[in-house]
Amino acid sequence: MDETPETRTTRRRLLTAAGAALATPAFAGNPKNLPPNVPDWTRQLGDGVAVRPYGQPSKHEAHVIRRDVQWLTASRESSVSFTPLHELDGIITPSGLCFERHHGGIAEIDPEDYRLIIHGLVEKPLIFTLADLKRFPRVNRIHFLECAANSGMEWRGAQLNGCQYTHGMVHCVEYTGVPLSVLLKEAGVKPNARWLLAEGADSAAMTRSIPLAKALDDCLVAYRMNGEMLRPEQGYPARLVVPGWEGNVWVKWLRRLKLGDEPWFAREETSKYTDLMESGKARQFTFVMDAKSVITSPSPQAPLHQKGFTVISGLAWSGRGKIRRVDVSLDGGRNWREATLDGLVLDKAVSRFYAETEWTGQEMLLQSRAIDETGYVQPTKDELRKIRGVSSIYHNNGIQTWLVKPDGEVENVEVS
């Protein structure tokens, strides 16, 4: 039978009327635009150049946005919005879709008035302008940034229906910036320095202590993301990049670096971003993000519309290095098979994985499991709970399960 829009919509109506559960893509378009007809965009001239001096996504992609969960926090200035992972592919997150976590709103800094001070246990305290920072030798690095509280709402059980909400506090972009080691060399670090305090210029004046060894290893003071200047939400004009470590230490709107011989025990590394165990004691300085993965499609916000050949797609990352392998299960973790890693597989960056299957409308319990180059295997949520209890809020890297139902809808579930 010829597949015309008319027959497709009719068939859909029939299927719905007959109570068939599987959702086929609803045809909401205009038949006049389909062959053999010639649509308006072929007959008429479109907008000229420079009508859109800073290009925006197609108006038809208006649903691809960051979203927040209003009941989570007391205010939007100290809150979070989530990356729509289910709408993206590849490994690079578009700048405007990178999740936001602010503690005192977005600082709007005039680049002319931006200053970075380095002081404390240094030979020569220095102050830099943004133009100064841009004169230094620079490097380009692709890294993931994950909030330590990503998946934090899921410790006590499946709660939010969508990988945007369960896993959307992660993004991955290319940063351009000065290696922190170069800036520290310029100031001359004194031999007794062991720690670095990084401070933001926002109204939370966010501070975190970072071991000097990490600062000298692979940290950057970045001013660009994906080639353009940092977005205000991501710390314009300069932020710290701390590869593989929890997002909170990647201080945005960076204004001050102080060298010291001990950590500072700032609010964000004591009362927050510490992991309370069942014993009533809490782990502190849990910087590294454990290996983690999630299937982004299908997922609750990206249900299946068609039976037949189906690509299962997702992301995997590890704060300890590269992703070595990702396994996918269709039966809730009884049996596993290796997924394909496609594209760049980089140190402390997200990797994209695919697994192909033939979906006949059967119920599936989809899981993915990341294995990094250190041999760390992403645990189940119950394996994590056995060690950590359910009150630690942060660092939930447990295996996610999506229930795919016969009608193609997908739900966040937990399995035995």
């Binding site: 939010l160 004046a205 025990f265 009362s271 009884r334 645990p379 060690i387 009150s391 399995v415």
Partner: protein, 215 residues
């Protein structure tokens, strides 16, 4: 000969480029003591960075009622969803741990540092040092850590004992979670699989069509 010299020149140029970051580049300028002093507001557990000044519990009550109570509650119990600053002692092992200055903060310096840099929310760095000391003294009083006559200053700082001072230990995942490194099972990993929880039952996922939730 000239070829050799050229090659040498290229080599020198390349070497120079490679080692560009091994020397100081003379970018930026010395920060003045006054510039540093204006931004250098951090306070450490050993007291390094404590400002001059002092504040009493009594004065702190006034500041707290005017500047803090609207969000944190008159007794530190929290108004709405804002952080609770008092109470919660003995709750950390329970299923509903309450983290406050009295129950969770290990260091007094953390409270002083945070109030000084970030509070009141929306009017940061507006409190005088005496007000910072006073309001922190009052929060200690609300948590039964000091009595009503206490005056907080650089001199009395070290006398305060925080109840949860021994409540933290450094990241031990590479030991306590060593079992997560290994070779994973690929086939027949469990006898059966049962669904034990569903997000739909809880139904708290935001809906684009739904109105914002008031909490």
């Amino acid at each position: 000969m000239s070829k050799c010299l050229n090659a040498l020149a290229v080599l020198v140029a390349l070497t120079g480029a490679v080692h560009a970051t091994d020397r100081k580049l003379d970018i930026g300028r010395a920060a003045t003591p006054a510039e540093i002093a204006g931004w250098d507001i951090d306070v450490r557990p050993d007291g390094q960075g404590l400002p001059s000044g002092k504040g009493s519990v009594k004065d702190g009550e006034q500041v707290y009622m005017m500047r803090c109570a609207a969000c944190h509650g008159e007794f530190g119990e929290s108004a709405g969803r804002w952080p609770q600053v008092a109470g919660g002692q003995g709750s950390l092992k329970s299923t509903d741990p309450v983290k406050t200055v009295g129950s969770y903060f290990a260091h007094l310096s953390t409270v002083i540092d945070y109030v000084r840099r970030a509070m009141p929310f929306g009017d940061a760095q507006s409190l005088a040092n005496d007000e910072v000391y006073a309001v922190v003294a009052y929060m200690l009083f609300l948590n039964d850590i000091v009595d009503e006559n206490f005056v907080l200053s650089k001199g009395t700082f070290a006398k305060v004992k925080m109840p949860n001072a021994g409540g933290f230990y450094d990241d031990d995942r590479e030991d306590s979670e060593k079992a997560f490194w290994g070779t994973p099972c690929m086939t027949d990993c469990k006898a059966n699989v049962r669904i034990t929880g569903r997000a739909r039952v809880i139904d708290v996922t935001p809906d684009d069509k739904a109105r914002p939730r008031a909490d």
